[in-house]
């Protein structure tokens, strides 16, 4: 079966610093992949390349069989226009560490904005679907609240609903719980767990090893811009073979 996401030898540099040093990875449809690794190892950069918030320098990323950001035309590569890239982005949803809800819109408006303004779907139908999504993340009573009136955990759940409203094929999570107070982490992880159980394909950057162990189909450990070790949660988290993985895991567990 062809993977939903195919990442091949992706390199990304910021100035003279190489943040991704040739990353290759497959994510099959329905899989939950957890990315772990120390701060600065390139996890965020990899997610940003997948939804084209960052432009890769070489290599290629295919999503749903389509090459991202580039078009091969009689033997040459051409960069896609901004409009074409925006269209490709519709297949991925992104959840940020800092939520990034639209501050001037209510929870409901945050969710309906994309489907109505970008996908041009009927507002009535979109609103109904958005209310369903709010119920699904347990926030039906917060539809009219502004982000500043919500806790961090509630904001992140609205952000997940906002991404889902676009009906993406792939969901990207960049440390969705690391900006949260400890007692709010559980409610966000519960929503993600439920989402995983529905068969959504997910790439999750996380330091929540318990979540990775329980929910992930595959765990990938990154260090210094490269994948060091990948496998099942048991392989990577319980019996890591690489010394760097072992050192990282014992540091995280000791914390």
């Amino acid at each position: 079966m062809t993977p939903l996401v195919a990442i091949r030898d992706v390199r990304k540099r910021f100035g003279s610093f190489e943040a991704l040093k040739g990353v290759s990875l497959d994510v099959t449809a329905g899989q939950v992949l957890c990315l772990i690794g120390a701060s600065g190892s390139g996890k965020t950069t990899l997610l940003r390349c997948v939804n084209q918030l960052a432009e890769i320098d070489s290599g290629g990323i295919w999503l749903d069989g389509e090459l991202l950001g580039l078009r091969a035309d009689n033997g040459r590569l051409h960069r896609l226009s901004e409009a074409q890239i925006a269209k490709q982005r519709l297949k991925t949803g992104m959840v940020f560490q800092r939520f990034n809800l639209f501050a001037h819109m209510t929870a409901l408006q945050n969710i309906t904005e994309g489907p109505v303004q970008v996908q041009r779907r009927r507002p009535a139908e979109v609103t109904e679907e958005a209310m369903d999504l709010l119920r699904r993340v347990g926030l039906a009573d917060k539809a009219a609240s502004y982000p500043s009136e919500l806790s961090g955990g509630q904001q992140q759940r609205v952000a997940i609903a906002r991404a889902l409203a676009m009906r993406p094929k792939l969901m990207l999570f960049d440390e969705p719980t690391s900006a949260l107070d400890p007692e709010l982490v559980g409610e966000v992880l519960a929503v993600m767990r439920e989402l995983a159980s529905t068969g959504m394909t997910m790439m999750v950057v996380t330091h929540e090893l318990g979540f990775a162990r329980e929910v992930a189909d595959r765990v990938v450990y990154m260090d210094a811009g490269a994948i060091v070790e990948a496998g099942t949660p048991t392989e990577v988290l319980e019996t890591p073979r690489e010394p760097r993985t072992q050192a990282f895991l014992s540091a995280v567990i000791r914390r």
Binding site: N51, L53, E82, A83, A86, K87, R89, L90, T92, G93, M94, F96, R98, N100, L101, F102, A103, H104, M105, T106, E113, G114, Q117, V118, Q119, Y146, P147, S148, E149, R162, A163, M166
Partner: protein
Amino acid sequence: MSTHPTLAPGFPDLANLPAARRMHWGRWLAAAAIVAALALLGRAFAAGQIEWPYVARFLTVPVILDGIRNTVIMAVLAMALGIVLGVAIAVMRLSPNPVLKSVAAGYTWLFRGTPLILQLLLWFNLALVFPILGIPGLWSGRAVDIMTPFLSALLGLGINQGAYTSEVMRAGILSVDTGQYEAAQTIGMGRLLALRRIILPQAMRVVLPPLGNEFIGMVKATSLASVIQYPEVLHNAENIYYANSRVIELLIVAGLWYLLVVSILTPLQMLLERRFARGTTRIGK
């Protein structure tokens, strides 16, 4: 005899002592001094060479009312033009395209760097440079007919305002967190849609107070258009005192009208600010 054995003794209970009010002697003194000064000033004006009945009579004559109407119309239209240009220039200035960027920078440099009255005179006298205006092959006309006082004033004031407004708008756009733009991108928005739906509405909160300031400046700047014969309130007041020599009285009439218009603007601005503050403060705070 403390009920809290763990707390240190020696701090008496203050609950039964009455609270004494502080006397603000400084405030009373300052108020008295200001009232005295105002009374003296008022007496000087009442006894001075001002015929107050003339002020009252000319406050509402048709020529003055026409003038203030023209002032308000010009201020609103020129400000609208200034805001449209200001947004466009700010967006160009922030775009990744180096050509657009330098055009925007040049615009701001040119129109902020020369006196407004000079720009008004240039627009009004455009016919000296280009006798015929128009689009080649489509339409054309004589510049003296096209560059009326109204159009010259609108272009002069609006384009000049655009240069200042663009800097206000740029500051507003930059004040919005980049995460907002990235979130807009991830739901498939392009640059302009994100700007219109996400960035500008949030920039408005930062931009409104300085824009209110700019608008008040604009109301008064319209008086410069009197030099190119635009019949705003100062121009019309001057025309009256050329005939009847009541210079001070008519200047006071014009001044009172400016004050009235500016006074109405302040509460309007507060209404707008409240409208755009939605979502930025917690309820009840």
